[in-house]
């Protein structure tokens, strides 16, 4: 099976600092990949390069069989690549429903044509908010939400773009155990609907229970990639995390 995402030896520097150094990564359709690494290891830079927020200096990114290196971030979203942000970035002046309306208007329209009437849009927004348990707050502003609700809104907005691949960047940071369970269950449900998911996370219990495969970045390099139970026993990974 050809990979949905193929990151081919990409590198990124910020001045003299090497953020990514020849990263290779493949993600198969329908897969649940966990991406871990200590702070500053390059996880977010990698996501930014994949999503087009940053441009890699060498190497290439192929998505769904096509090179996407020259594409702007919004064009990559149109192709089916969606992300949530480490710190939630809702559209503050818009209601929750309108937050979801944006990807429906701009991405789903761009991909499938202007097929949605105002009624269709409203019902799809409601459906997505219902999926994350926020339907009752559809008309409220993001500032009225709790931390976990904000994370759910962030995920719902990414899913509204009807992506093939969802990159969830630390969607559980700062949440309680039960809230983490909530988000995990949501991510699993999305995956069961056919969305490939890359989960970037520091909370190891969550990553271990979610991921079918685990990749580890340290200092801009990939040091391990494989089954989660094997990767966590990898001496290099243990050294990177525990400093042994």
């Amino acid at each position: 099976m050809s990979p949905l995402l193929h990151v081919d030896s990409i590198s990124k520097r910020f001045g003299g600092f090497v953020a990514l150094d020849g990263i290779e990564l493949e993600v198969q359709p329908g897969e649940r990949l966990g991406l871990i690494g200590p702070n500053g290891s390059g996880k977010s830079t990698l996501v930014n390069c994949i999503c087009g927020t940053l441009h890699n200096e060498s190497g290439s990114v192929r998505f769904d069989g096509q090179a996407i290196d020259g594409l702007a971030a919004h064009e990559r979203t149109h192709r089916g690549l969606a992300r949530s942000f480490q710190l939630p970035r809702p559209f503050h002046s818009m209601s929750l429903a309108d937050n979801l309306r944006i990807p429906l208007l701009y991405t789903v329209h761009a991909r499938l044509g202007p097929l949605r009437s105002a009624g269709d849009l409203d019902s799809r927004c409601h459906e997505l908010l219902d999926m994350v348990g926020l339907a009752k707050k559809a008309k409220q502003l993001p500032r009225d939400l709790t931390q976990v609700e904000m994370r759910k809104l962030e995920l719902a907005r990414a899913v509204a773009a009807e992506p093939k691949l969802l990159i969830a960047d630390e969607s559980m940071a700062g949440l309680s155990h039960s809230e983490i369970e909530d988000i995990l269950a949501l991510l699993v449900r999305l995956n069961e609907r056919g969305i490939t998911v890359i989960l970037i996370e520091h909370i190891m219990s969550a990553v271990m229970s979610f991921s079918q495969r685990l990749a580890v970045l340290v200092s801009g390099k990939k040091i391990a990639d494989g089954k989660p139970e094997d990767v966590v026993r990898n001496p290099e990974v243990v050294r990177a995390y525990l400093g042994q």
Binding site: A73, H74, A82, F91, L105, Y106, R157
Partner: protein, 321 residues
């Protein structure tokens, strides 16, 4: 709440404009036309500024430059190939719209204060060009001798009344356009740029293209507001066309009225414009900018989202309770 569609709103706006025009014609006081022309001109300018500054969150300090481009394109055409003012308005819109597009293209990657400084620089560069361009009067300025009256539909009407009617029409066009944008996919896209450009791109919004649309539209409307200005003032010089009051008022009016809705610039322009006209007659025109400054400081402290923001917040609280 029933939302009036654009066609209905346009008809209502045209009816209101017709009523205002009929009243002004019946009242027939020249000063009323002069004073109202200025307020209407500021409605167009403030609405134009708000398309980029309010909807997209990109603060333009160079409004006077776009306004002056419209005015000077009229002076140029007046000397080169005289045309009726409605045609000059279209030319002014085209010139300033193209300049807006150019500015947008050159400043695509600039945000926040960097963008604002770039727009200020544009105004300085353009003023320098105009000061040194003899054909349009250079630093001496240019006289436009306008006729006393004009024949319109077989009736002789006062020229200032004609200019007032034109500006009233422009104000209606600007408001209808702003309102239509606000409720369209384009308006949603503009709002995402204002709220969070990175998140907007991640949602599939082509932010750079939308910014270019906003700078072009905003510039075009400012140019439209400036095109009849030489005929209104009779003598155009760089200091008046590039005057600080245009840059300051076009920012202050939406800020005072509220930047997130088309109503804000309208309310702000009427409030501030009327106060300035009143002060001009009763005290001195020199206090105009003082009034703007004081009101701006007061609103930034009391109602940072403007009058409309204050009302919206009040309604939201009432709904919640």
């Amino acid at each position: 709440m029933t939302i009036v569609n654009t066609a209905k709103f346009s008809l209502i706006a045209i009816a209101v404009a017709a009523a205002v025009m009929a009243f002004a014609h019946w009242y027939n006081v020249d000063y009323l036309f002069f004073a109202s022309y200025t307020i209407l001109q500021f409605i167009v300018l403030a609405t134009a500024w708000n398309i980029l500054g309010g909807y997209c969150g990109y603060v333009n300090f160079g409004s006077a430059a776009f306004f002056a481009m419209g005015a000077y394109s009229s002076v140029f055409m007046h000397k080169f190939y005289p045309l009726p003012i409605p045609m000059l308005i279209l030319i002014g819109a085209a010139v300033s719209g193209i300049a807006g597009f150019g500015m947008g293209y050159l400043t695509l990657r600039l945000r926040g204060s960097f963008f604002a400084i770039a727009t200020l620089a544009l105004a300085v560069v353009l003023q320098t060009l105009v000061v040194n361009w003899e054909y349009v009067g250079g630093s001496r300025g240019a006289y436009i001798i306008r006729p006393e009256t004009i024949e319109f539909a077989g009736i002789q009407i006062n020229y200032i009344e004609y200019l007032f009617g034109l500006m009233l029409g422009l104000a209606i066009i600007a408001l209808v356009t702003a309102r239509a944008i606000e409720r369209s996919q384009l308006g949603f896209g503009f709002a995402t740029i204002r709220d969070d450009e990175l998140a907007a791109e991640a949602c599939g919004v082509p932010t750079l293209r939308l910014k270019l649309i906003a700078t072009t539209l905003s510039g075009a409307f400012m140019g439209m507001a400036g095109a009849p200005f030489p005929y209104y003032i009779g003598y155009l010089q760089p200091q008046s066309a590039f005057g600080l009051e245009y840059a300051v008022n076009s920012i202050a009016m939406p800020m005072i009225g509220g930047t997130t809705s088309w109503v804000g610039p309208l309310v702000g322009a009427i409030l501030l414009g009327s106060a300035q006209q009143y002060a001009t007659v009763t005290i001195s025109s020199a206090v105009n900018l003082l009034i703007v400054g004081l009101m701006l400081v007061a609103f930034v402290i009391i109602a940072p989202n403007g009058l409309i923001g204050l009302v919206q917040e009040h309604l939201r609280k009432r709904r919640r309770s």
